[in-house]
């Protein structure tokens, strides 16, 4: 038996390679094959990223004459899910390090790669997409060798798309990855590396059994959260579920135990038996904390209950999503939601709109701030509207991250410029083979959730990649920027900005809003203000002509339908006072550059 995962950057071909391995081992016939089997959510397939990891077992008769059970554990490919990656690494003994032959190692891959090395995994480097015209396999192999210390001749050249190198990879997994070791006679300890909610069976928990055995019918306990459940079924996916009598030390598989909520089967937790269980849990558990916050409001205020229900359903499957009711003067009742990052936010938003057919207004994402009050005490706010009056504030701190960027040296200048614009403090620069540079900055998280990634990509012609990790809160000269529409402050448009940039941000914001908010029947002044002082103003002129030129016998039905459709569109706008504000206005702050 071998347990391994794949580390790869988005688009470097992880999913295609996984498909190839499944196909080669006959786990799935070509005819049944839905392209990219592992990424099972529609959204994942559309975006080409893996959101939720899964595990698949394959049977492989190797050249040494023996037959091996291979467990492939999929890992998410985005910085938002870094913690999940670390847990899936902890469930393996080996990792395929897949690097695009034309792109080289990206920041995300490097971060995961270091994690894998730290976790003691055996790395099998694979240079993928060697069939591409722009491929430079030799150079990429050298880079990998340089970074990992693995001899150059152990790097495998492959093209998952064309099926080149598949056998070599499987042989390397068998030969180089050590078999799992663990004592089936010891008390049960199983690491949860993923869980998802199934309507019929409750939570399906993906585990790596480290010690002992899991047998259906026994009572198990989650060592960190303390919840107790009775095991219904164990087994593995191949890739369809295959129930088994038990899962034993070293094995990877699934457990169902009529668990109602993923919160009771948190990633990183350790499963043991309820009676005579293990004394200490496996290391590495932490409760994931949201880093990015935004308000979600139903466009139609009567859908508040539906939104609540939908969020509850999503949370069944997404322990990292948090939400609590929020009441906005402008937008009415909604929820303040916490996310791991921007991608996580977008995924939740899209699922709410697609799967639950909700029309939503999402306010601009923000981070958490720690506010020290003059009268003593510290409060944490995740909503700019909740910032106390400036006279009550002693200081405000904001979260900082360590940001690493990998970029061809030609783009170092623009990257440094970007980080400086975003208040980053330069820390470190390192040259890599292939004329590439690793840049390290300490930078406020709030600065990189606003259009940073797009800028990074566009200013590096798509070559730069980034990764970040939290390093704590730091004090900053921060102010609240308010937006007034027709003289009324709109709380949902408020944001917290650094004083040095608030003026220009305010000006750009009202300029942008002027282009987004449609003309109304009267002139609408737009103002940006800091602490009651107006710093920028624009006005939307009143509409003067809005009428269909012709309306005779043959036109009436069509024109009425045209207007009815327009009216539907208006319903999706939010009426603040007497002004109709479209959804995108609340996200305008994200697109100011």
């Amino acid at each position: 038996m071998r347990n391994f995962c794949i580390i790869a950057h988005i688009d470097h071909g992880k999913s295609t390679l996984a498909d190839r391995l499944l196909e080669y081992t006959g786990s799935i016939s070509q005819r049944d094959m839905q392209a990219q089997v592992l990424d099972s959510m529609d959204l994942e397939r559309e975006r080409g990223i893996t959101i939720k990891l899964q595990a698949v077992r394959m049977t492989y008769p190797a050249k040494d004459g023996k037959t091996y059970e291979l467990n492939l554990i999929d890992t998410p490919g985005h910085v938002d899910f870094a913690y999940e990656v670390s847990r899936s690494l902890a469930a393996c003994e080996g990792a395929l390090l897949v690097v695009d032959a034309a792109q080289g190692i990206e920041a995300q891959t490097l971060a995961n790669l270091y994690q894998a090395v730290e976790a003691g995994l055996t790395l099998i480097p694979v240079v993928n997409k060697i069939d591409l015209d722009a491929a430079q396999p030799e150079m990429v192999a050298e880079e990998i060798s340089d970074v990992t210390g693995i001899p150059r001749d152990q790097v495998i050249f492959a093209s998952a798309k064309q099926g080149i190198g598949t056998e070599e990879i499987l042989e390397a997994v068998v030969a180089r990855v050590p078999p799992p070791h663990g004592d089936p006679t010891k008390p049960l300890r199983a690491l949860i590396f993923d869980s998802h909610y199934d309507t019929y069976r409750g939570v399906i928990t993906y585990v790596r059994v480290v010690d002992g055995e899991i047998i259906p019918g026994t009572k198990i306990r989650m060592m960190n959260t303390g919840s107790v459940h009775e095991v219904d079924e164990v087994g593995w996916f191949a890739p369809r579920p295959r129930p088994a009598e038990k899962l034993t030390a070293g094995e990877v598989g699934y457990v169902t135990a009529a668990i109602k909520n993923v919160v009771d089967a948190r990633v990183g937790d350790t499963i043991t038996t309820a009676e005579t269980g293990a004394a200490t849990p496996l290391p590495g558990y932490r409760q994931v904390k949201p880093m990015v916050f935004a308000g979600l409001f139903p466009t139609d205020s009567e859908k508040f209950g539906d939104l609540k229900e939908a969020l509850e359903k999503l949370q069944l499957n997404d322990g990292a999503l948090s939400f609590e009711p929020e009441n906005s003067a402008a937008l009415g009742f909604g929820f303040r939601c916490g996310f791991l990052g921007l991608l996580h936010l977008e995924i939740v938003q899209e699922r709410l709109e697609r799967e639950f057919e909700l029309d939503l207004i999402t306010t601009a994402p923000t981070v958490e701030y720690e506010v020290t009050l003059k009268r003593g005490g510290v409060i944490t706010i995740d909503n700019p509207a909740m910032l106390p009056d400036p006279t009550m504030i002693e200081s405000i701190s904001e979260p900082y991250v360590k940001l690493s960027i990998i970029v061809p040296s030609a783009y170092v200048g623009p990257m440094m410029e970007l980080c400086q614009e975003r208040r980053g403090a330069f820390k470190h620069l390192e040259h890599r083979p292939g004329d590439r540079v690793v840049l390290e900055y300490e930078i406020p998280l709030g600065e990189i959730i606003h259009d940073f990634y797009d800028q990074l990509k566009s200013r590096s012609k798509g070559y730069a990649s980034m990764d970040y990790e939290m390093i704590g809160f730091r004090e900053g000269d921060l102010v609240k920027l308010d937006v007034l529409v027709a003289g009324e402050p709109v709380d949902a448009l408020s944001l917290i900005a650094h004083r040095s940039k608030a003026q220009i941000q305010g000006r750009k914001l009202v300029e942008k809003l002027k282009t987004i908010i449609p003309r109304q029947m009267f002139m609408v002044p737009l103002q940006a203000a800091i602490g009651g002082k107006v710093i920028a103003r624009e006005s939307i002129p009143a509409m003067r002509k809005d009428v269909l030129a012709k309306c005779y016998g043959g036109d009436i039905t069509r024109k009425r339908k045209l207007l009815e459709k327009q009216k539907e569109g208006k319903k999706r706008m939010k009426r603040v006072g007497s002004i109709e504000i479209p959804q995108e206005a609340f996200m305008a702050v994200l697109k100011l550059d």
């Binding site: 029947m521 003067r544 002509k545 809005d546 030129a549 309306c551 009425r560």
Partner: protein, 369 residues
């Protein structure tokens, strides 16, 4: 439903010499050879309609298109006399024919007048060569002027002209000049249409390709406002969003649409509207001339309008006209809001759009629909 009798008849003539770039009407170029069969099919439909539906003496007959003036004189003459032999046409009925200046000549005019046409709607559209070129019209100012004068001299007592404003690249001065040249002809009625980019037209495509810009809405309003000043100064009244007339020369046929009175529409793609005064039904014929000719029953589809929708539609249409309407029941909150916004006014128990309400009529429609 006890359907009210039809007193208004529309006939669609879908033929054109050339399809103009902005036109999204049910009109076809290059199908002239279908004309005789088409007229026969029209006569067939009229005979059936006369049997199936209640008619009272016709108050209006309207030959629209397409280009009705394209029909050869004898064919049009035959159609006009067929109408008179099939229906009771009131002695003072308004009988309108839409004509393109390029296909209007002495012979045809004589046939039309002889057949009872007493109102000519002349598709002038513009006098500025550049604007006409952008519109892809194949007529010029001279043709328009001579067609108008000829019709007048032969005894056409009621003549309307159509003009288009907010044509891409057109200056306010050019539009004013167009208006003045139109008024110099002393028409009885003027329709001014803001150029609209309709999906599927050549003009729509040219805008998408970035070759033709749409006129800024503020400039559109300037053109409209200039028309208000010019036309009112010359004694015309804006009795509908896009229509002006000398007193007593309002289009009676079009007022039937805006007043939600029953209209029977015959011909390819024509719409009919029937009502009992509470609910309504609208239906329409197959659009393609060839299919229309071949169809034993030309009706393609229709929609039933329940009472609320019928009333909402009546507001949408009635509030396009200066005289307005008696407000239907059940719209008090919407109407109060529109009055508060200055878009409509109440006069003697009726409601009517203000000048602003006419210019922003979509806002009225959006409120009541």
């Amino acid at each position: 439903m006890t359907q009210k009798a039809f007193r208004n008849l529309y006939l669609h003539i879908p033929f054109c010499k050339h399809k103009c770039g902005y036109c999204d009407f049910n009109a076809y170029a290059g199908m002239d050879r279908l004309m005789p069969d088409y007229v026969a099919a029209l006569e067939r439909e009229l005979a059936t309609a006369r049997e199936r539906f209640p008619f009272e003496p016709l108050d209006t007959v309207y030959l629209g298109g397409g280009t009705p003036s394209l029909l050869p004189a004898d064919l049009m003459k035959r159609l006009l006399s067929y109408i008179r032999s099939t229906f009771d046409v009131a002695a003072d009925a308004e009988v309108t024919l839409e004509a393109n200046p390029a296909s209007t000549d002495e012979t045809k005019l004589a046939a039309w007048l002889d057949g009872g046409v007493n109102r000519l709607s002349l598709g002038v559209q513009g006098f500025d060569g550049r604007a006409l070129a952008v519109l892809e019209r194949r007529t010029d100012a001279a043709q328009a002027t001579s067609a108008f004068r000829l019709a007048r001299s032969m005894g056409m007592r009621n003549i309307s002209i159509d003009l288009i404003y907010a044509v891409p690249f057109q200056s306010l001065e050019s539009w004013l000049e167009t208006l003045r040249r139109g008024l110099a002809l002393e028409p009885d009625h003027v329709s001014t249409y803001c150029l609209t980019f309709e999906e599927g037209t050549l003009l729509w495509r040219r805008r998408a390709e970035g070759r033709v810009p749409e006129v800024d809405p503020d400039l559109q309003w300037d053109h409209l406002d200039a028309a208000c000043i010019e036309l009112e100064g010359a004694g015309y009244r804006r009795y509908e969003v896009s229509n002006w007339s000398r007193p007593g020369f309002e289009s009676r046929h079009n007022q039937a649409y805006w007043g939600c009175r029953p209209v029977y529409g015959a011909g390819a793609g024509a719409h009919s509207y029937a009502t009992d005064g509470v609910a309504a039904r609208r239906w329409w014929n197959v659009a393609r001339p060839r299919e229309y000719i071949a169809a034993p029953n030309p009706m393609a589809d229709g929609e039933d309008l329940p009472a609320r929708k019928t009333a909402a539609e009546s507001l949408m249409l009635g509030l396009r006209t200066a005289d307005g309407m008696a407000p239907p029941a059940g719209f008090d909150p919407e109407l109060a809001e529109l009055a508060a916004a200055g878009l409509i006014a109440r006069v003697d128990g009726r409601i009517a759009p203000t000048r602003r309400g006419m210019d922003l009529h979509n806002q009225i429609a959006l409120a009541v629909l």
